[in-house]
Amino acid sequence: MTLGSFLLRKTAVAILTMLTVSFLIFLAFEVNVADVAVKVLGQYSTPDQRTAWLAENGYYDPFVIRYLRWLGGFVTGDWGLSTFFRVPITSIVFPRLGASALLAGGALLVIVVFGLGLGILAGMRAGSLLDRVISVFSVITTSIPDFASAVFLSGIFVFWLGLLPGASTMISGFSLRELILPVLVLGLYSMGYLARITRASMVEVMGTHYIRTARLKGANPARIVLRHAMRNALITPVTVIMLQLPWLLSGVIVIEVFYAYKGFGSLLYDAALNQDIYLVEACAMVSVLVVVLSQILSDLIYGWLNPRISLGAKA
């Protein structure tokens, strides 16, 4: 299968997924018209006001028509007004998404660089002192959930050592210092997890016949690890990284709220808290889109790592 047709097929599947999910989202939020009116107009609106508003905005049309209209709006970039922030939704979602991408990107960097790095180091020589130190460290980091490590790390770096700010509002513009703690907390858990997976995979690969072949060809240890072992050992960890991407999205909510970081996660949180129905819908759609796109990406990386998997052979 060529790359083009692979992408075409994956995109088709992605679109189908988006359609299904969008329908479910719409069904969940807007099947009960009276509820929508209460959420948009507030609890203290009169029944007359609500009826008038519903009629005016076409809410008495059949469900399917309303869905298609809503979907059309989404595709063309008309995502409606946020009832809480009183601005067009697109004008807040995208900047916030950017801010979260920065946070999640930073965390991903920590996860990939340290998770893979430590895992490979540990797995190169199973049972060595280095292996044991790294293994203990990764068990510790995976044993602490993000909301707890947020508290611990803040306790140490903010209140005890006073090195870092405790909130990351970025109120006076971008600040790298304010980014350090949230990135660390977000990355730590998955990093340890990834390190353990990578280690196990590396240990397995180092015991295979083809690594023995490489040794008996006269390859030195560095070459054996870098050229022969690593690519084969990365197949499992890469799956894990890709599965972590959607997970990062949920981690983002906890971390952003904890550090008062103005990102996508805290936006979703505010929207849910304030019954901002259109904003919640938009956030849900964006989240699903991120997941779907990350899966396509992971399939592509997979095919490159493992020539035995022809692209999309088992989609």
């Binding site: 295979t208 016949h209 072949t213 060809k217 006269g218 690519r231």
Partner: protein, 524 residues
Amino acid sequence: MTQPILHVRDLSVALPKGADRPFAVEGVTLEVNPAEILCIVGESGSGKSVLTATLMGAAPRGLRVARGQALMSDEDLLRVSERRWRDIRGKDIGMIFQEPMASLNPALTVAQQIEEVFELHSDLPRAERQRRARALVEEMHLPEPDRILRSYPHQLSGGQCQRVVIAMALAMSPRLLIADEPTTALDVTTQAQVLKLIRELRDHHGHGIIFITHDLGVVADIADRIAVMRQGQIVEIGSAEQVLKSPAHDYTKALIAAVPSLEPHDRPPAPAGASALRVDALNHSYGTKQVLHDIEIDLSPGRVLSIVGESGSGKSTIARNLIRLTDPSSGRVVVAGQEMLALKGGALRKMRRKIQMVFQDPFGSLNPRRKVGPMIARAAMLSGASRAEAIARTKDLLELVGLQRSAYDRRPAAFSGGQRQRIGIARALAMQPDVLIADESVSALDVSVQAQVLDLLADLQSRLSLAVVFITHDLRVAAQISDEIIVLSKGHVVERGPASAVLSAPQHPYTRDLLAAAPGRGVF
């Protein structure tokens, strides 16, 4: 007299404390001369693989060279540094392994893997490396060299992979080549080709070759000299002619006697009467690929039918269809007068006990956590015996298959491969089946053990009047046990008949090829 390439003197490798013997290899002395193939023969656990791993400086962890020398051009291989080893490996000593497919890196192309040897041991420019890699692939008689070079290992067959591994081992024209069971995982016809290739290497390039194998047939085909190993020691070493024709040591004699002959025994013709197993027009497809074409079998009680074929011929698919692990696309399977394929649920479970299977892998097919006795007794109870009956029957069966009654309370880990295969047989028999299917049931065993298990099967089969379907790739084994033989190629039965007729007067060219490829034909 030429100088030997390798001279091993009084080499002993110590096992860790608490092992079943103090030394894995003990007091081994041998020489390898240029243009000579030295075969090291031994059964599992004889120390032959530890010996060669030590000679490559890659002994498994926990093993320690206790004493001795391995001289190659006055350099003692047992005392060189890891850094020096990296120069020697691949350049002075090349190695070929048992698992060709697993020995190649799945993520690199053949070209990358062969060229790497030049990268490691020479300053050749890229273009020259590529040219030489291609030349090597051609020399290995691989078809379409350019396609092979671009391929990944999973795109090649086992035989092709082995040639690639050999090409890699030969890239720097090492003086010494160590081949550890290089053809064991290959089909006989492929094996014959690889053996021919290795003989060519000896003749044209003058490599000294250490060839390790458990298969005396292969030894007879390829060895110039033979060393027989047992329990870490060389019990006999000498020219091939001398060791095979007039062995001095009793162990060597026993090994040679255990090689199954290609001469079939005389068997009475099939008795008339109802058949135990009938298969009509059996077809099987995986997706659009048809792997079995109109298979017909008619087997009377007390008879043994061997299905012989190479890997991919469909012989295991037949076994799976017979016990309905998979369902055929079409056809009829009749066991003891019952049509099997029509049955479902409880009726099928009831019929299944009539047709039982003994598997290939004596280690994987027994649950390591369960005691042997209860495992067999459970099978007996499934066939309707009461608890007391089942236990009594189990103890009888253990004795019948040549184990002690005390085996009842032990777990599989306490038994050797051959003993486990006996347990597997006892478990199958506990159901009191009419038909026993043995899928490569002796191919994982050493020759001497193989002979015992074959004797056991023959004995049980005549005593219990079992119909046995014996699936094997090994013509020698088939010759020993069969009344009738079916030769299977690419899902088609190409030849069938009484064992003596098929083996002594094969009609189909494929059967003749198989027979011609059987190693050690001239000797055993």
